[in-house]
Amino acid sequence: MWDGIATGISTVLIPTNLLLVACGCIAGTFIGMLPGLGPISAIALMIPITYGFDPASGMILMAGVYYGAIFGGSTSSILVNAPGVAGTVATSFDGYPMAQQGKAGKALAIAAVASFAGGTIAAVMLMVAAPALAKVSLSFQSPDYLMLMILGLTAVSAFASRGNIVQALIATVIGLMLSTVGTDPSAGIQRFTFGSLDLVDGISFLLLAMATFALSEALMSVLKGELRSESKARTSNDQIGSLRIEKSEAREMVPVVARSSVLGFFVGVLPGAGATVASFLAYGMERALAPIQEQLKFGKGSVRGLTAPETANNAACTGSFVPLLTLGIPGSGTTAVMLGALISYGVQPGPQLYQNNPEVFWSVIISMYIGNVILLILNLPLIPYIARLLALPRQLLIPMILFFSLIGVYLVSFNTFDIYMMTAFAIAAIFLRLFGYPMAPLILGFILGGMMEDNLQRTMTLYDGSLSFLWERPVSLGITVLLVLVILTPVVRTIRDSRRQS
């Protein structure tokens, strides 16, 4: 292993590769900041550029872009509540309220430090435990994945509902329903396409995410007439506030970072779970662990609520490389794009990669750490300038957000039907928001829908339509117990509160 690490360090420390990590981080941060262009689009755009590079350099650049885009997504989540990346949706729950309280600088600093800490801890864990962790994800079977996804969705609904879990569950079901549009992967039968060729491949994640977050959020701010006051608040750089993290806040962050890094890393290792589930689970976990008084601060600018998803999503990004590099299974949409890139370089990811191309394997791992260092060095001092970019008056910023959202999706498909569909989804999202239906469970349901159906199919086939896997498989049983706890906790709390009131 040490030989491999030495090979990785020597590959990454070549000036060209260091420059590539830095360029990747900068490009990723800017792209991630723009609603409509997330890491998948950013990495997809990088593939043609990296064709001329050797595989190690190409992967190093893409790892930098990945981290940069996740951090950039956090920046736009905090400043304008428009997460361009699903993994940073949970960041906006507390980051945006903090920014509204005039602590945008502090929120960005906490996000940067949490991302750095999460990425660093996960990179160390990856270096030490990569082969062993691959075995963990190998031991998971379809029933376990199915239950894990149901747990993730329920946990999201439990805390994103702001008091009404039923509404959040309805939003989750709508997201799952939207994921069934298109061609059924198992039988190749078209479902809910209404004979339209534009729907045969289903609805793109990017389209739905942009419509339900960036577009609907921008339109909601217009609807609520937040133009003048917001522009006044944002034109002054003083409103960004101090970047300083108080000692008490740092003390509060330390245990959260430790827990969320471990959780994020392990969730990232599981194929399919990724940064989004990790960030939501970490948020839910911290909320559950917090004392009652702290729990009330969640969703209103809690330091813990911001630290947990930021740490977990970066740790999960690192973790998602484990199945990609050691098993050849992508852990997320972004690593799926990277898998395509590796194959195009003539490198076959999987157990053989570790043996045949150790420089690729280890240089990606080392470049993650270097990427985290560069992100911290680059982003903290640049935060006021980055924030200034988003400090345009709202009457100018909102049409720009609408444009980037529309064009970000259009540039992937070059199909104007996507623009019409986005507008329709944005209007539907406004309707749902007005009646208090949260959007985060909807988007997570949509992301996990396809994978859930695959695993449901395999489970039903394996167990011949029986639910016996729930008690026959210890992992599934454990997850089911957790699921019951997640569902019962708010119910018990509601009953307890109503008894206290009466």
């Binding site: 039923v166 039988a187 909102i398 064009i407 009646f435 339509g465």
Partner: protein
């Protein structure tokens, strides 16, 4: 929204889930597939049933505890501005191919700025034109992506 409005919204979603369920029942199957434990319509049917059940719970919740419901006010909402922006987005989709990226984007951005209250014409036109041209050149020259140039820039 009032409790009545919330109930109406829940009923609308109930109808959506029922319609989805009915649509799921019409998903075609290969011969013999109906005997398999998992069919292309299995997941949609499960989702429709879950959705219907949740909507019923929601409606019961609203009927039982109307005073506790969240009621955001809709007074003073700028429906006209938001509606015009939606129309502008649809028009942008229609215009991007026939007019070309640059002209369609200039018109979309300028319309957006105007709708949201920007009345300084030099800023309105200057910013939208500069931004569209820079973005077009960046995408086509730097990244090598094709964007419809339109009849005026195409030659």
């Amino acid at each position: 929204m009032s409790v009545k409005g919330n109930i109406a919204a829940s009923l609308l979603l109930f109808v959506l889930f029922v319609a989805y369920g009915l649509g799921a029942m019409t998903i075609p199957m290969f011969p013999g597939q109906e005997l398999e434990p998992f069919k292309p319509r299995t997941m949609p049917v499960l989702l429709a049933l879950t959705g219907v059940a949740l909507c019923i719970i929601r409606i019961v919740q609203l009927l039982r505890a109307p005073e506790a419901e969240w009621q955001p006010g809709v007074d003073g909402f700028r429906w006209k501005q938001a509606g015009l922006l939606c129309v502008a987005m649809l028009a942008y989709g229609f215009a991007i191919n026939p007019l070309g990226f640059v002209l369609a984007t200039i018109l979309f951005l300028a319309t957006g700025f105007f709708v949201l209250g920007e009345r300084r014409v030099p800023l309105l036109l200057g910013l939208s034109t500069t931004f569209s041209l820079i973005f077009y050149l960046l995408m086509t020259r730097a990244l090598g992506l094709y964007l419809a140039p339109g009849p005026w820039w195409g030659a």
